[in-house]
Amino acid sequence: MHYEIEIAGRLRQVAVTRTGDGFAVAVDGRLRQVNATRIDAQRWSLVVSAESKSDMPARVSYDVVTTPGPVGGALTVHVGSIPISVVVNGRRRWRRRDEGAGSGPQRVAAPMPGKVVRVLVAPGETVRARQPLVVVEAMKMENELRAGRAGTVSEVHVREGVSVDAGALLIVIQ
């Protein structure tokens, strides 16, 4: 089986073959012997060894948890306690939320239900990447929603004091 796997913006070619007591996995051509044992639907124990001792010590043990991500083909893979966003065979559909790059309008939506306590930009205003746009109060905290990248505010759909549902469109930046 062959997969294209994207992590942190970089695509890897991964080939998986069943072997005697596990899998041979080639990541961009580098081969690993992987003893993979499933604990339950989400949890895996991997014991990985390299072909040669040079780049990875023998029999390295990893506790891994895989959970479905927000879109098809996306997974969150915890290696130890570190969550890593992974996309399998999905590079055309997927885009990192906080990546500076990209084109087309940015549509800033409410990530959770809450109350708009401050609107910090007006239509026509230019904004920098990561500039705060709107403050939404939810879960007893004020949360700043920021611009993903620089641009000009083209639409403001909320005013201070209104309640918004999760997913409600707040701001559009061109």
Binding site: M1, L46, P68, T76, G80, P83, R97, M141
Partner: protein
């Protein structure tokens, strides 16, 4: 006391249930709609529905709480922290219903809830307060008078809401030209948040630390202060890491802060557990900031270094018992304790709340680790409340060992399904400033601003490769073609490891 109603939810309700169990008291829970299956409901002896999920319709409804207490036959009510814990009307309503309130008197709550009244009490007790205006500025004070007052306090200053808390209704003013606008903004925010537009001024100290003194007061006139807590690691005025003892407080300074704290508490006839918050400047001078008239979120670290059970003492004091503790031992901490408040927030996305279902949970354990939690795999973190899912506490013989232990525990801590602040804490506890104890209340906001959104959970070439391998194997073994799999983004389906491994032999 035979039966205690807990007017709260989450980890603090669980904490109080545990104290009840150890004292032979029957704990009674209340729950809103979304909390029907929450741990505090399942661990209590009785449980009463008190309304919809929004706090204003359930946990903040004094009438429904009193009604639940009466229906259960409870003879006492513990408010926990947050919600109605510092609401003098709730304390009064509990008393009026003939029940014991596990907390201070309504008068003490009311006095300390008003920041200018609290400052006045501290001044009467001979305790220094942060220089500032002594009277509240209501809406009809003319701008000129405000400017004169501000000049006498000195710049930079803070405009603060009299009824404030949690950083709301607060503005920093460095340039006198910004004063009028800042007062207007703070007043409007305070009016919205607290229904009270009154504000006052405080001089802004340079790089202060937030150091607080826990104390216990009984109904026989004894007030005993305990070793201080260092709470300077704050994000937007919210504590995120606390430790005890403070890395910068000497025994002499401890003794002097402790007696100042006791003096303030005695000045208002304080009973039960409470905390006096101070600001400590770079020259070792401290100033009364405010008093929290309830159990603090961070009380476990004090329990770790003193050996006391503070909830047990709250209940004993409410029953009218005398405090019979050795005052000297209470100021002689044993070892060092640190708490990390684990929140359902995405630290890599501006700490936005991350409610949802916890699909997998591995909590740390072993020597020196305590996890006060109400989280469990399969349960939802609701959107309606504070997103605190667990308080992770590490104790060790000294501060470096406690930090090492906390980092070990954070490595063991795995929460899948939602984002948490665990990766943020793993980063923070590795920072040289934290390790050296060189920080102040603005430290965290400053370094967060300087990082400009760089992710905390930094991946390495090794972890990325393992993630790729795991994702590939997971996908191979979960392919629909095995006839026994799970869909790419869906929930796990009928599940047998053996069958699945068998099926892969055909790959």
């Amino acid at each position: 006391m035979r039966k205690l109603l807990i007017a709260n939810r989450g980890e603090i309700a669980v904490r109080i249930i545990r104290a009840c169990r150890e004292m032979g008291i029957s704990p009674v829970a209340v729950y809103s709609e979304c909390d029907r299956t929450a741990p505090h409901v399942r661990m209590s002896d009785e449980a009463y529905a008190i309304g919809p999920s929004a706090p204003g319709e359930s946990y903040l409804r004094i009438d429904r709480l009193i009604d639940a207490a009466k229906r259960s036959g409870a003879d006492a009510v513990h408010p926990g922290y947050g919600f109605l814990a510092e609401n003098e009307h709730f304390a009064s309503a509990v008393r009026d219903a003939g029940l014991t309130f596990v907390g201070p008197t309504p008068d003490a709550i009311a006095t300390m809830g008003n920041k200018t009244a609290a400052r006045a009490a501290a001044i009467r007790a001979g305790v220094p307060v942060v220089p500032g205006s002594e009277a509240a500025l209501d809406a009809n004070v003319p701008d000129a008078e405000i400017a004169t007052l501000a000049a006498s306090v000195g710049y930079p200053l803070l405009v603060k809401a009299v009824a404030g808390g949690g950083g709301k209704g607060m503005r920093t003013v460095t340039d006198p030209a910004d004063l009028a606008g800042a007062v207007r903004a703070a007043r409007s925010e305070a009016a919205t948040a607290f229904g009270d537009a009154a504000v006052y001024f405080e001089r802004r100290l340079v790089r202060p630390r937030h150091v607080e003194v826990q104390l216990l007061g009984d109904t026989h006139g004894t007030v005993l202060p305990l070793v201080e807590r260092e709470c300077s690691i704050q994000r937007r005025h919210q504590k995120v890491v606390e430790e005890t003892p403070s890395p910068v407080v000497s025994p002499a300074l401890r003794a002097s802060m402790a007696s100042a704290a006791a003096a303030v508490a005695k000045a208002v006839g304080y009973t039960n557990a409470g905390t006096i918050e101070f600001l400590l400047d770079e020259n070792g001078r401290f100033y009364f900031l405010e008093m929290n008239t309830r159990l603090q979120v961070e009380h476990p670290i004090t329990e770790m270094v003193t050996g006391l059970d503070l909830v047990r003492w709250q209940i004993r004091i409410a029953r009218g018992e005398k405090i019979d503790l050795d005052p000297v031992l209470l100021l002689a901490p044993r070892g060092h304790a640190i708490e990390c408040r684990v929140y359902a927030e995405d630290p890599d996305n501006g700490f936005l709340p991350s409610p949802g279902r916890i699909t997998c949970l591995r909590t740390p354990s072993g020597p020196g680790i305590r996890d006060d939690s109400a989280a469990a795999a399969g349960l939802d973190v609701p959107i309606f409340y504070d997103p605190l899912i667990s308080k992770l506490i590490a104790w060790a013989e000294d501060r470096p060992l406690a930090i090492a232990r906390m980092r070990r525990a954070l490595d063991e801590y795995l929460v899948a399904g939602i984002k948490t602040t665990v990766p943020f804490f793993a980063w923070l506890l590795a920072q040289p400033e934290f390790i050296d104890g060189r920080f102040h209340t603005a430290f965290l906001d400053d370094v967060l601003a300087a990082r400009n959104g760089r992710p905390f959970a930094e991946t390495t070439a090794e972890t990325e490769e393992i993630a790729a391998i795991a994702a590939a194997i997971h996908t191979a073994l979960s392919a629909p073609s095995t006839g026994d799999g799970q869909t790419a983004a869906g929930a796990p389906a009928r599940w047998k490891t053996e069958a699945r491994l068998e099926s892969l032999r055909g790959l």
